[in-house]
Symmetry: C2
Subunit: 206 residues, 2 copies
């Protein structure tokens, strides 16, 4: 059985939803970030990066959301969560997820985790101030160029959708005007109404 | 035929090497970053992110190094560049590449491209000062936990290897002591001796 380590309101939600979408047999372990549990030896033995998510499998531990999402799609092919037989279409899915991971999520992280890239309070404050612009630019690019509709890749729901849903929940907190990205907000609303998403969100908060 | 847009000394080198490793039929287009060519309308029509690399295929344009590397591996399966039939092993490859993209490369980028995350010169300087620590920590984690040897994934060369080679060329420029990461440096040396790598590096500089 798969075991997902997560913390609420993190990008782990994307993999959590995908596991539910896939009908996977899985359990979850909640980490307490307030107690810095992700940096304690017990967790570092599972994931030396000290971050979430981690997915414990029979073969070993997987990390990094784009890799975990592709793993879930490939491990449960009947769930149809990615165009597995088409290298170009699969790469398009992966390119979208890689952008969320390496550009949008990184821009977001500058609001709270400036210590990853500097060691001075004035720089942290400068980074915090910039988040609405940098995260806003990411969402505008997604709105204009990437989100085909109704799902990210068009007519078919894929592993891009739980990931976009996850990061789009950060919009208001990052100071981005939701009115500027109506397709993203509509996607978020439709995602939030799916049974799997409602169940997982309730589980994470519960 | 595939067409790769690149600029010298960027992460595009990883895909360039992988195309050569795969025996792909491809051509390259060099962008002049000094002339800001990546932000001109002609290139933005290809890649609205204004970054390299981009890979033009018969089906459309692909971006994001991890996605492009997986696409190359899947499109040329006989080259054996990834464990395509094993979702766990493939995910481990992707997790490594995702880490380089979203953590190591991002840390490196703070040395020159602080304008992505702030708009004040003092913050840029604070970010530049921190690069040896943040990039150094990434390489130390790779050295200690990820690089199995002789290749990243162990006995078999994969799409992780050209990507690690590409970012490890930035070590000294980022102020990281090569002596702290001897396995990474030895990997870089062995990569640099491969015929495909020598050809591609000469092409990019020529």
């Amino acid at each position: 059985m798969l075991k997902l380590y997560f913390a609420p309101n993190t990008c782990a939600l994307a993999s959590h939803i995908a596991l539910e979408d896939a009908g996977a047999d899985y359990s979850t372990v909640r980490l307490d970030f307030a107690a810095d549990e992700q940096r304690q030896p017990a967790y570092l033995a599972i994931n030396p990066k000290g971050r979430v998510p981690s997915l414990v499998t029979e073969r070993g531990v997987l990390t990094e959301t784009p890799a975990m999402l592709a793993f879930i799609a490939q491990s449960y092919p009947h769930a149809g969560l990615a165009p597995l037989g088409d290298p170009f279409a699969f790469a398009a899915v992966q390119a979208f997820n890689s952008y969320l991971c390496s550009t949008l999520h990184v821009a977001h992280a500058h609001g709270r985790r400036g210590y990853r890239w500097a060691d001075d309070e004035a720089a942290f404050e400068a980074m915090r101030r910039f988040v609405p612009r940098s995260v806003g630019a990411c969402f505008e690019l997604i709105e204009r160029e990437m989100l085909k509709g109704p799902w990210v890749m068009g007519d078919t729901y894929t592993i891009c959708d739980p990931y976009l849903f996850t990061v789009s929940r950060w919009l208001e907190g990052d100071g981005v005007d939701p009115a500027a990205v109506p397709k993203v907000v509509d996607h978020r609303r439709r995602m939030s109404e799916r049974a799997a998403v409602r169940k997982v969100v309730a589980d994470e908060l519960g």
